[in-house]
């Protein structure tokens, strides 16, 4: 059941795009400093600043990985919370498993 529903690749893509756009903007700022008035710069520059993309399968895979990550995080946090007798996962529960979780992924 869990396996069948994953994140919507479009949403993931949207998030990725946002990150890429930010990264691209940062890079462009750097690049523009050096790239002054070259009449042909437009041609070469646009190639350089080609946006990062991900194909459909990559997005699906990313979505699945993120899902696994989230599930794992929730489950581990839940385990911690259970041990503590809490019925609600708090941020602190997450923090306890976070370092190892991050290393596991």
């Amino acid at each position: 059941m869990e396996e069948e529903t994953s994140f919507d690749p479009d949403v993931i893509h949207g998030i990725f795009k946002g990150v890429w756009a930010k990264m691209a903007a940062l890079e462009q700022e750097k690049a523009e400093a050096s790239d002054a008035a070259d009449s042909e710069a437009g041609a070469s520059a646009s190639k350089r600043h080609r946006r990062t993309t991900a194909n459909a399968n990559a997005l699906k895979l990313s979505a699945e990985l993120l899902r696994l990550f989230v599930v794992e995080a929730v489950q581990r946090s839940a385990a911690i919370a259970e041990v503590e007798g809490a019925t609600k996962i708090e941020a602190t529960h997450l923090e306890r498993i976070l370092p190892q979780l991050l290393l596991d992924f």
Binding site: V11, G14, I15, K17, G18, A37, S39, E40, G42, A43, S46, K47, R50, L68, V71, E72, Q75, R76, A79, I80, A91, T92, L94, E95, R96, I97, L98, P99, Q100, L101, L102, L103, D104, F105
Partner: protein
């Protein structure tokens, strides 16, 4: 009729999904009108009668017969009611209905007409109405129309309105707009959506960059498509385009629909399906010839030609004033000169051609390359009869030259010298032309001139003129607002122009060229083209230098100057070029080449005439389907009104929708994005998950759900444990005794143990593999042994993996590899030993780790020899506990194994296992004892007895002493072995006491090799250096001991001073490793019949143990000796192994063999072998030792028995040693192998604790001593000392590790992973070689060894090792 239509309307209404904002008033009104006018004739279907269109079926051919097509139309449009009404209730009704029924369900069932919408057609009035647009639109709605409008007069609007109406009429119909290039597609989609309110979510632009699968999806989900014809063609062919739903096809730049261009293909394909649809062609330049126009009409099945030119009355008001300026530029002098020269060349060539019988009917001076091409073609098809075939080649060549020259001349005239020169140079590359040029005087001259002019950069007059024009233009126009397009036919000149323009300050120019990459110039990708256009629009560039790709369709409003750098092009292209300007402003057009231009102007005028009046008289038109049932008669006028009323509103609504829909569909809405950014932003501000908030939780692996912990996590946990609670205990101890590495090792071991348990199965599998290999290596090994080895292996692998993590894992493979290699070099011992040893080593490592900790932790352990104590220690330290638990488990396993194994071997195995198991404990105990003794006064006590022994030994010649010492050591080992063999605690306790006793007694103390070592060390320390060395050597290896004594004496001095901690730690580790190795070998022995290996291992262990002991006890001195001993032992072991395997000590071999033969003895024999190896080494070093060794072999046999006896009773071992050196040796080897192993671990542990410093000091001392003793040896000594001691240790360790792979690695990793790893293979090999040579060498060394010579000998030995390495 009205009622019927009404009902229809209702039905259709339900189907209609897209009639939002529909003008219901208008619709109702239109319906009324439609019902009133029973017969309506579409304006388009001028030629066909009502009947005809209905009956003519569609045909796929470019020139389809009308009837079939019309019948399809019939089917398509026919609806029962509609048909009746349309035909005015004529008798046709029945027939019509039949047709319609078929049609609706057959061909076009899916495309339903929205009856309400179909009553009107909408013309947007948000744009100022132009009559000609309206009338053309009306025509286009009802027939296939080719719209030929001058550029900039709003063809796109017509198309948009037509599309919009079809969009409305056919709620499920698909509408396609095809434009020949991607930029145009994008431009048109925008324009169309701006003009009419087609919801954008129904719209998609598809080019070749959209994956076919995606396109197929879009074809299903969208309704309005802006595509390139190639995409359309492909998708129709692949079937992904739902062609049956197509109701309208708009073709931009329709003049391209020639031949097999995709436009033509698309229409043909659609007709073949067949599909009823409206075709609308748009072009500014239908063609320059009647023929071509007719072709377009045929290909697109056009039934109406709507033609306007700028002089038409209804168009004139909307035509921007466009000035055409023809600037004549005369060629420069040089250019003319070259031009003439080229002409001369051409004359010559033409004359030659003429002589060959090929005649030109025209003056070659004015002929174009095309003329020559024609002539050549003619020649090829019908060569003159009189011309011999041999001459054909020459003719072809001449033609080629002429064509080339023609081209160059053209370039020269229109683009200047530089491009022409480049062309010439390029042609020169081709051999035929090159040779021609070099032979031709005129051409050479022309070339020279061109070279000259292009190098000194004489400006092309055209270029300079163009610059003038540009400068003037920008003077009068705002450089920011004005846009200029410069057309050139040739990319080379585009570049030249750009270069020139770059010198103009206010001109920001960009090139705009096609995609294809030539030899010298790269093309622009479409993305680049897009960005160039965008920037041109936005004003970043104000000049574009374009090739022909800029000619068509680019709608750039602000362009107010177009410069055609070469006007000698077709009128069609000139019109297109000129059409780029004057869209919004009046702007001039400038041509710069007159030649040919006027001629072509004339042509276009003629065409214009043809097309006038719709071309009705000139062209053959095709019938076109009526898309809207005749009952619906959308009236223009009314619709206009209604449009005026409603369209703006709808526009607004739709515009709003468009914006929203775009955002919704494409990505997240702004709202959503806002939420996300807000959420994350706030979240990050409010709370950032901390990674360091709960360090305590990182001390152990967290519970996992489905994702297991990674190696990195385990590393983190290790690190955290080191840094925190767990490490605290260990760390303190470790810090005291050992380095962090050791602590890590302990942790690793502990973990490894845990992991081992968890992964035991896998490990077992691995082990099995290992076993198989081992088994192969050591066929003699019994099943029991195999089992043991498996168990051992299983334990080991797991330990390895865990301990070392990924790196370790690599190590494992390496170890395996090494093992493999080792077997080759050191056949049995290594491979078998590796596996076996690995287990042992693991155990040992654990034990050692625990042991050290224990030792360090509390002397209590030392005191308490019992396993319980050990366990307690283990418990004290979690790791230690784990290890102990593991050990226990291992013991159990071994026992079980032994139990399981019915064979005698089983017992042996059990014993061995027990021994092994006990060994750890024993080793621990021993270690503890040793440590305790060392740390406490016991050492002193030991020292004294040992000293006495040593003294005795010392008194006796080295060889005898060695032998004695060896015997003692052996005895000690056996005793230890015996202890392990017995109940672990008991044995341990017994061994420890025994060892103590033995120590006190005199070297007999078997408390283990460590004890012996300790004793020896004690002796050494207390007594003379010589004595000590002797003793030491005796314990580890005679030769080594011999060497060591001397060195040890020095070492003592030296060692005492050197920093013990660091070195000691390292050395300890090494020692441990060595011990482990030794243990491993012992295990190997037990597991497999590899007596040699076992023996080797045992010696190693023994040597290690001795080393450790020495180190521990005497610390520096002994360490030195130990190290040497280790080295030697290793070498010896290797040599022994080799020898044993090969011929080595006959006695030993025999003994080994015998042992092997003795099922029980296998393990013991292995130990015996080890002992023998030691002995051998000793013997080799010293004749006496050899003698002893010789005795040893026999002992080996006895050893097997003795081992048993040892196991049975530790006292035996003690006794045996006491009884006689030989017996002792034998006993020791057999029983002691395990004991040795155990002892070795123990010693290792002890050594690890204390010895390291000692070892280091020993090394230093040795080195120093060596230096002092023999200056020449110094470097060697240093090397040897470090390398030897370290390497030896390392080698041993490495070998052991390699062999053990798992445990060894662990130890190594903990201590000197790098060293070991790096050294291991080499060392192993070296050791092997050394071993091979070692026998001979060692003896030699031994001979010199006595006294200082011994040290020297050691040094040489070590060098020999190094050399061997």
């Amino acid at each position: 009729m009205a009622s019927s239509t009404a009902s229809q309307v209702k039905i259709l209404q339900e189907d209609c999904e897209d009639d939002e904002g529909f003008d219901w008033d208008a619709a109702v009104w239109a319906i009324d009108m439609a019902s009133e006018a029973s017969v309506s004739k579409p304006a388009g279907s001028t030629r066909s009668t009502l009947e005809d269109p209905f009956r003519t079926p569609c045909v796929a051919a470019p020139l389809p017969p009308r009837k079939p097509r019309q019948s399809k139309l019939d089917k398509f449009f026919g609806r029962p009611g509609v048909y009746n009404e349309a035909t005015g209730n004529a008798g046709v009704a029945g027939e019509g209905r039949v047709d319609e029924g078929i049609g609706i369900r057959g061909t076009s069932g899916a495309v339903e007409v929205d009856a309400e919408a179909a009553k009107t057609w909408i013309y947007p009035v948000n744009v100022p109405l132009r009559d000609y647009q309206l009338s053309i639109t009306k025509t286009a709605l009802f027939s296939n129309t080719l719209v030929a409008l001058p550029t900039g007069l709003g063809k796109t609007l017509i198309a948009a309105v037509v599309m919009y109406n079809y969009f409305k009429w056919f709620p499920k119909g698909k509408i396609v707009f095809a434009a020949p290039s991607r930029p145009l597609v994008l431009q048109q989609i925008e324009a169309c959506l701006k003009i009419v309110g087609i919801p954008q979510e129904q719209t998609i632009d598809m080019t070749g960059q959209v994956a076919p699968a995606k396109r197929a999806h879009y074809w299903k989900s969208k309704r309005v498509f802006f595509v390139t014809p190639q995409v359309l063609e492909k998708d129709i062919q692949s079937g992904s385009c739902l062609a049956k739903y197509l109701v309208c096809l708009v073709i931009d730049e329709a003049h391209r629909a020639m031949g097999n261009y995709s436009y033509s293909v698309v229409v043909r394909e659609l007709m073949a399906i067949p599909v009823q649809l409206r075709i609308l062609g748009l072009t500014a330049t239908p063609g320059s010839k009647h023929q071509t126009i007719q072709q377009v009409i045929d290909n697109l099945l056009i039934s109406t030609l709507e033609y306007r030119n700028e002089s038409d009355p209804d168009v004139i008001p909307y035509v921007h004033e466009r000035k055409m300026e023809l600037v004549k530029v005369t060629m420069g002098k040089e250019a003319i000169e070259i031009y003439d020269l080229l002409l001369n060349v051409m004359c010559n060539s033409a004359a030659r051609l003429n002589r060959l019988g090929i005649n030109f009917h025209r003056d070659y001076q004015t002929s174009s390359p095309q003329d020559f091409l024609h002539s050549r073609e003619k020649f090829r098809q019908a060569p003159p009869m009189e011309l011999p075939e041999a001459k054909y080649g020459e003719v072809e060549h001449l033609f080629g030259v002429l064509i080339t020259l023609c081209h160059i001349r053209k370039l020269l005239s229109s683009h200047g010298i530089t491009p022409a020169h480049e062309m010439l140079e390029e042609k020169m590359q081709r051999r035929s032309f090159g040779s021609f040029i070099t032979r031709n005087e005129d051409l050479r001259k022309a070339r020279f001139l061109m070279q000259q002019s292009s190098t000194h950069g004489a400006p092309n007059p055209k270029l300079s003129k163009m610059l003038e024009v540009l400068v003037d233009h920008f003077k009068t126009n705002n450089a920011q607002q004005s846009r200029v397009i410069i057309f050139s036919n040739f990319r080379g000149s585009v570049r030249d122009i750009l270069n020139v323009l770059s010198k103009l300050g206010e001109v920001k120019a960009a090139q705009f060229i096609g995609q294809s990459s030539g030899k010298s110039l790269k093309g622009q990708s479409q993305k680049v083209q897009q960005t160039v256009l965008e920037k041109f629009r936005s004003g970043e560039y104000n000049v574009i230098v374009a090739t022909s790709i800029g000619e068509e369709g680019l709608d750039i409003m602000e362009v107010d100057l177009v410069i055609c750098f070469d006007a000698n092009i077709s009128p069609l292209r000139m019109i297109q070029r000129m059409g780029r300007t004057g869209r919004k402003h009046d702007g001039p057009c400038e041509g710069s080449e007159l030649k040919g231009y006027l001629r072509k102007q004339g042509n276009s005028k003629a065409v214009r005439k043809l097309m006038h009046n719709g071309g009705a008289a000139s062209f053959n038109f095709h019938p076109s389907p009526r898309m809207i049932p005749h009952i619906f008669k959308p009236e223009v006028r009314f619709l206009k009104l209604s449009i005026e009323k409603y369209i703006p509103q709808r526009k607004k609504v739709i515009d709003g929708e468009i914006i929203e829909s775009v955002e919704c569909k494409k990505t997240l809405t702004k709202e959503e994005q806002g939420i996300i950014s807000k959420y994350f932003h706030n979240y990050s501000n409010e709370w950032r998950p901390s990674l360091i908030a709960f360090p305590a939780f990182q001390n152990f692996p967290s519970r996992v759900h489905k994702v297991m912990h990674s190696s990195r996590t385990s590393m983190l946990i290790d690190a955290m444990q080191n840094l925190q609670g767990l490490p605290s205990n260990r760390s303190v101890e470790n810090h005291h005794l050992e380095n962090e590495d050791e602590v890590r090792e302990d942790l690793h071991n502990a973990r490894s143990i845990d992991e081992k348990d968890a992964r035991s199965e896998e490990v077992e599998l691995l082990n099995e593999d290992g076993f198989t290999s081992k088994g192969q290596d050591f066929p003699p090994t019994e099943k029991m042994e195999e089992d043991r080895s498996l168990h051992l292996n299983s334990c080991d692998p797991s330990g390895h993996t865990f301990l070392f993590g990924s790196e370790f894992v690599t190590v494992d493979p390496v170890g395996i590899v090494q093992i493999l290699s080792v077997p080759t070099t050191l056949p049995f011992v290594k491979s078998s030993e590796d596996v076996n040893v690995s287990i042992n080593s693991v155990k040992e490592g654990i034990v050692s780790s625990c042991g050290p900790a224990d030792r360090t932790m509390s002397p209590m352990k030392c005191e308490s020899i019992d396993e319980d104590v050990l366990l307690c220690r283990l418990t004290e330290i979690p790791l230690g506990k784990i290890s102990s638990g593991d050990i226990d488990e291992e013991y159990k396993r071994t026992r079980y194994m032994s139990q399981d194994s019915p064979s005698q071997k089983g017992n042996d195995l059990l014993q061995d296992r027990e021994d092994n198991i006990t060994t750890p404990d024993a080793s621990k105990l021993r270690v503890s004892q040793l440590e305790g003794g060392h740390n406490e006064d016991q050492v002193d006590v030991d020292m004294s007895p040992r000293l006495s022994c040593y003294l005795k030994c010392g008194v006796v010649p080295e060889s005898p002493v060695n032998g004695e010492s060896e015997d003692r050591d052996i005895y000690l080992l056996p005793t230890t072995n015996a202890l392990p063999a017995g109940l672990c605690p008991e044995i341990n306790s017994g061994s420890s006491p025994k060892g103590l006793h033995a120590e006190t007694i005199s070297g007999n103390c078997n408390l283990g090799s460590p004890a012996c070592c300790n004793l020896s060390t004690l002796y050494g320390t207390s007594k003379d250096h010589c004595n000590n060395p002797v003793h030491n050597t005796a314990s580890p290896v005679a030769s080594k001991s011999v060497v060591t004594p001397i060195s040890s004496g020095y070492r003592r001095n030296w060692l005492l001073s050197p920093a013990k901690d660091n070195e000691s730690v390292e050395r300890r580790k090494k020692l441990k490793r060595l011990r482990r190795v030794g243990d491993c070998p012992s295990v190997g022995r037990v597991a497999s019949d590899r007596d040699h290996s076992v023996l080797d291992e045992v010696p190693k262990l023994g040597s290690k143990a001795s080393m450790i002991r020495d180190k521990l006890d005497r610390g520096k001195k002994k360490q030195m000796s130990d190290a040497r001993a280790f080295i030697e032992v290793e070498a010896e072991a290797s040599s022994d192994d080799e020898a044993s395997t090969d011929e080595e000590e006959d006695t030993y071999d025999d003994s080994f063999i015998d042992d092997i033969t003795d099922s029980v003895a296998a393990e013991s024999s292995a130990p015996v072998d080890m002992m023998a190896v030691y002995r051998r080494s000793l013997l080799s070093q010293s004749p006496n030792i050899r003698q002893l060794n010789g005795v040893g072999p026999s002992p080996l046999h006895s050893v097997t028995a003795s081992v048993r006896s040892d196991i049975s009773s530790s006292t035996k071992s003690l006794r045996t040693p006491q009884s006689g050196p030989n017996a002792l040796l034998r006993d020791k080897p057999i029983g002691s192998t395990i004991n040795y192993r155990e002892r070795l671990p123990g010693t290792d542990l002890s050594a690890g604790v204390i010895p390291l410093s000692e070892v280091s000091s020993d090394r230093d001392n040795r080195e120093r001593s060596c230096l002092t003793q023999a200056g020449h040896v110094h470097p060697v000594n240093l090397y040897r000392l470090f390398t030897q001691t370290e390497k030896v240790v390392l080698n041993k360790e490495g070998l052991q590790r390699c062999e053990d792979s798992g445990p060894a690695v662990h130890v190594d990793d903990l201590n000197d992973d790098l060293f070991y790893e790096g050294l291991d293979l080499d060392e192993v090999e070296a050791q092997a070689t050394l071993l091979l040579c070692g026998n001979s060498e060692f003896p030699n060394h031994d001979d010199p060894i006595p006294g200082s010579g011994l040290q020297k000998g050691d040094c040489p030995k070590s060098p020999s090792f190094d050399l061997g390495i």
